[in-house]
């Protein structure tokens, strides 16, 4: 993909460059379904843009990367714009400096695709209240990643849950989907009442906190959280009167599924990469009611302790 550099530019010049790029490439950018905003520091931008591009193979999008620079001094907008390169969407990486940093939404607003939904993703540190953030307010889906934050790591997921608003979601929740699917399938097979259990994971694991909250909410019994060597979540155990149902995964790839009266069975449970997590998030843009409920549980529990 060729990227066109626009120095000291404006939103309308960036928009014109999108149209130009599309014409040059013989109109490949068609059928885009959404705008994906990415707010990211300079040093993480390349990786994040690439992840977004991979995710948007499933959801062709206009991807707008926004790098917020130093807010002092005269405002300046620089951008790189590209499309094509065997990819169905278009991409712009916009660097803001000076006063305009405080008015980033004014740069982004004219670049949103007409009518289509907007999603926003903070690959690293998100605002404490994403829905109240001026850029976040433009989006219907606001994606944070509490496992990737640099500041106040251990509090991050609680901050995000406390600030929950419709449309918010966190990749630590997305990471749980295969675990949750297996656990639900386990209870399809063993129709038993769960009397308690535990989740073992490395010390810092927002996903584990969410899983404990989900399990204790759905099963109406307390779940323990224990610390292991990792990586990520290493074991989930649900106790029943016939014995424990357990899924343990020591290597982050292959898990063992054990249940009462049945032989142990291996089950592939690979830790997923960010692009596939992002693609899952973008599949549905309406409120995730289950996450909303789990976020509430987590906050309630935290206040309780």
């Amino acid at each position: 993909m060729t990227m066109i550099e626009l120095v000291d530019t404006t939103s309308s010049k960036i928009a014109a460059e999108f149209v130009n790029a599309r014409k040059r490439a013989g109109s490949p950018a068609m059928g885009m379904v959404m705008t994906l905003l990415i707010v990211v520091p300079d040093e993480d931008a390349e990786k994040a843009m690439e992840a977004a591009q991979r995710a948007s193979r499933e959801h062709p999008s206009r991807v707008l990367g926004v790098i917020l620079g130093d807010a002092r001094g005269k405002g300046r907008v620089n951008a790189q714009v590209g499309s094509g390169g065997g990819w169905g969407g278009e991409i712009a990486l916009i660097r803001l400096k000076g006063e305009v940093v405080k008015h980033a939404e004014s740069v982004v607003l004219p670049l949103l695709l007409p009518d289509s939904p907007v999603a926003i993703w903070w690959p690293t540190d998100p605002p404490a209240d994403p829905a109240a953030d001026p850029l976040g307010a433009l989006a219907r889906r606001r994606i944070t990643d509490s496992a990737a934050v640099g500041r106040a790591r251990s509090r991050a997921i609680f901050t995000q849950c406390a600030a929950y608003a419709a449309g918010n979601t966190d990749l630590s929740w997305t990471r749980l989907t295969p675990w949750r699917a297996l656990l639900a399938a386990a209870l399809d097979q063993h129709q038993l009442r769960v009397t308690g259990g535990c989740v073992a994971a490395e010390r810092f694991s927002p996903s584990a906190e969410l899983l404990v909250a989900w399990l204790s909410w759905r099963l109406k019994v307390p779940f323990e959280r224990t610390v292991s060597e990792g990586p990520g979540i290493t074991e989930v155990r649900m106790d029943t009167r016939e014995g424990p149902i357990a899924i343990s995964r020591a290597d982050g790839r292959l898990a063992t599924f054990s249940s009462p009266g049945r032989p142990d069975r291996p089950v592939a449970l690979k830790r997923r990469e960010v692009p596939s997590l992002l693609a899952e998030e973008l599949r549905r843009l309406d409120e995730d009611d289950t996450y909303a409920a789990v976020a509430k549980q987590l906050v309630k529990k935290k206040v309780g302790t």
């Binding site: 490949p28 193979r57 639900a184 049945r262």
Partner: protein
């Protein structure tokens, strides 16, 4: 037990994928193309996506003198070569532990006894819970023997589904017979052993995203349905063209031909989806009801000689390659009357479609590989332009591109830039483009998962199969005593009679 509701399942929780319950599959016809190119890779891809239950087991049944490892090797090679998702050792390990092989002929009682023991063993070792699907990837001539053996050895009966007893299902592929009579016999054979809801007929076209999208396009939108009738539609063309010849399939193809191979199943199913009324819901029953209504209202034209066409590809140049004719293919008789191209005209006698012909065509060694449904609209009743201005304007069309280049095209008139008022056709394309990646399941994956989940909406029922034959039989009879089909040069769009057939109605085929 039945009153148990899984507390971890919640209709609001839409992220959770559907994972099949504990089960296994028995595959008959392990070495065939279908098994190696479609079924085995699809099973691996399902496992890779985490959609198979822990303990899922695959039993191969064939004449070869193999051990479990030899069977595993065959699956391994097929997965490496044909799977869509990347090969991961841990997924493979999970799957491979559940591979078993049973050696025997289809009429060998001992082999089926061995199969029964193997399944019992799997229930104990792998927790498959007695739930098994029997995939018959074998010629239909053997269906009777195999299902008979399954019944005789007590393998065909599950438990009472109402009390959550174990299930037994049978999966079959086309051809579903070669005429109405044989289709009925085949259905009677299957239905004699398995209840109708346990028989899954795979028409892989129905597993395709683009085909399912016909339903979404028609019934989730408001802008197409008002014009989806004889007031606006002039005619409909449904095309499935292949650029290849019969390849090594002479044994199967000779005597079957294009109409039986493609029109009876894929094209009539596509037509049913395009022409049917809105179902009351997307349950299997509601969909089948509407599809059956359309198929039952199909009427053939009076003069089949003027409204059908058939052809046989002759030697020629296709896409820059010199290729041989059908009768020169290995295993084909010089005097073969099997058609490799078939085109038919159908009328749907309903209020919606009266007077709108549906033209269906399919063939091998045609211009390019393409499957599409083109809804061609009537010309505007009045054009307030001079005649020369609209000379270049043809009829508006909406084209559903099923494969390749999946998407939709709308063709309409637009002004030629410049001073004079001149109007010509332009195309507006929607492409799924990049969405068709690893992330979207292949048709077989979707259908196999549906079999394991017991979810039947995408499988044609016995009634649909029989109705399709009822439509096709008179045409096949008509062709049967007309000698050899008309030859057409490879790499073209079929015989002249196909063009003549549309020219009589004052229409032309689209070049897809």
């Amino acid at each position: 037990m039945t009153s148990y509701t899984n507390p971890l399942r919640d209709p609001q929780d839409r992220r959770l994928p559907r994972i099949a319950g504990p089960c296994g599959m028995v595959l008959f016809g392990v070495t065939g193309d279908l098994s190696r190119k479609k079924v085995m890779p699809a099973i691996y891809d399902l496992a890779n996506r985490g959609l198979l239950p822990p303990g899922f087991s695959l039993v191969g049944f064939a004449r070869r003198d193999w051990a479990n490892q030899d069977f595993a090797q065959i699956v391994h090679d097929s997965v490496k070569q044909h799977a869509r998702t990347p090969f991961r050792e841990e997924v493979w390990r999970q799957l491979a532990e559940g591979f078993r092989f049973v050696q025997g002929d289809f009429d060998d009682d001992r082999a089926f006894e061995q199969l029964r023991l193997t399944l019992d063993e799997l229930d104990l070792e792998r927790g498959t819970g007695g739930n098994f699907a029997f995939y018959l990837a074998i010629p239909p001539g053997f269906f009777g023997t195999v299902v008979g053996q399954l019944e005789e050895h007590g393998l065909s009966k599950g438990g009472d589904p109402a009390s959550g007893g174990p299930w037994r299902r049978v999966v079959v592929e086309k051809p579903f017979g070669h005429d109405l009579q044989s289709a009925r016999e085949l259905n009677a054979t299957l239905d004699g052993v398995f209840p109708p809801e346990s028989v899954f007929r795979i028409d892989h076209y129905l597993g395709k995203e683009t085909v399912q999208n016909i339903l979404a396009m028609r019934f989730a939108n408001n802008m197409f349905e008002p014009i989806w009738n004889s007031n606006y539609v002039d005619h409909v063309q449904i095309t499935m063209a292949e650029d290849i010849g019969i390849g090594g399939r002479a044994g199967y193809y000779d005597g079957i031909g294009a109409a039986r191979d493609v029109i009876q199943n894929h094209l009539l199913q596509l037509m049913a989806l395009v022409a049917m009324e809105e179902p009351t819901s997307f349950t299997a029953d509601a969909l089948a009801t509407e599809k059956q209504k359309v198929l039952a209202s199909v009427v053939l034209p009076q003069r089949l000689d003027l409204t059908t066409a058939r052809g046989q590809y002759a030697a020629g140049w296709a896409g820059g390659e010199k290729v041989i004719g059908f009768t020169d293919e290995e295993g084909i008789r010089k005097t073969s009357t099997t058609e490799t191209f078939a085109a038919i005209t159908l009328h749907v006698e309903t209020r919606r479609w009266a007077g709108v012909p549906f033209y269906l065509r399919t063939g091998k060694r045609l211009g390019r590989r393409v499957t599409e449904v083109a809804v061609v609209f009537k010309r505007a009743p009045h054009l307030p332009f001079s005649e020369t201005a609209t000379e270049e304007l043809t009829q508006n069309a909406l084209v559903i591109r099923v494969q390749p280049d999946e998407g939709m095209t709308m063709r309409f008139g637009s002004k030629v830039p410049g001073t004079a008022m001149e109007i010509r056709d332009v195309n507006m394309d929607f492409a799924y483009g990049g969405s068709f990646t690893e992330a979207s399941a292949e048709a077989y994956e979707r259908l196999i998962l549906d079999v394991l989940l017991g979810d039947p909406p995408l499988f044609p029922r016995r009634e649909e199969v029989e109705l399709s034959w009822r439509i096709l039989d008179p045409i096949l009879d008509h062709w049967a005593d007309k000698g050899r089909p008309e030859p057409y040069a490879s790499g073209t769009w079929g015989p002249e009679s196909a063009d003549a057939m549309l020219a009589r109605d004052d229409r032309t085929w689209r070049r897809p």
